[in-house]
Symmetry: C2
DNA sequence: CTCCAATTTAGAATTATTCCAAATATTGAC
DNA sequence: GTCAATATTTGGAATAATTCTAAATTGGAG
């Protein structure tokens, strides 16, 4: 299927997968499409349900596999905002997450170019930052 | 037990519990002691094992109960650094966590007084920040 | 001291995820 | 295009961490 990868987006996906040693599959394409179409930080379960729309036979195990491959090849980020299901985010720019503890809504906010100087544990080699701001979104704040 | 709460630390604990509508119990005292004695961000399982040292009959369910009460009365913070067990931290000052993705070590680092201005989603009411820095600790960095 | 609500306890239930082994699909060589 | 080798998908079983449940126990007000 999709022998030619006609769309540039697919070719991009194929290349990203290939450079990490993964193959292009229709399931991985579908899962990545789901994530880029509605960027609301869905859980694996939610990705599964949306993916089934156009691909009714896809399985939960495959969704986990695909998400894992996409994370490994640098197209998707895992986001753990609370205990419970991990969420997935296709925005790979440096940003932080505003999280509504009441309704679960997530908002991406770019980080300011100027990051403040932070003292670091001696010899610590930083890989990445995970910054979350917890609180109430406008709607939920109004209701209280 | 502990009818008098002779130690000031215990009285402090009793008061904190009371103002949130909780009772003082020996189990809650023990769990809080475990957290303050070795501030290495243990999981519930680890707290359980350490608590059993002086209190062999304490149960896992109780450890979860106690941790929950301590979090609710503002003496302890939950820390979710990755998928998997939640960790617990008795340091209630504003700080962030440096986390070694290889060995799991956690280092507290105070945040600089000057926090950078961040654009916020309209109407969002901030409750707290969760800042984690992932990477390799000095030891693990050396091994590579 | 007595009573009642809060707490503890052991074990069952739940949730999210990972593991497994057989069936299927993809890719590179011919 | 065909074939073989290997990666991937799949459904279901297994696991890990936590939450729930209901009975026994305990703390504290009066």
């Amino acid at each position: 299927m999709n022998r030619m990868n006609t769309h540039s987006a697919d070719r991009e996906l194929t290349e990203r997968l290939a450079t990490s040693g993964f193959r292009f599959t229709s399931q991985r394409q579908r899962v990545y499409d789901v994530l880029t179409q509605k960027r609301d930080h869905p859980t694996a379960e939610e990705v599964f349900m949306r993916a089934k729309g156009e691909m009714p036979d896809i399985s939960m195990a495959t969704v986990y596999n695909c998400l894992d491959a996409l994370v490994q090849c640098g197209l998707v980020r895992k986001v753990q905002l609370e205990r419970g299901a991990t969420r997935f985010c296709p925005n790979m720019e440096e940003h932080c997450h505003y999280f509504c503890d009441t309704c679960g809504a997530v908002f991406d906010v770019m980080l300011p170019a100027e990051t403040p100087v932070m003292p670091q544990p001696k010899g610590f080699k930083v890989d990445h930052y995970d910054i979350a701001v917890h609180g109430l979104c406008a709607e939920c704040a109004k209701k209280k």
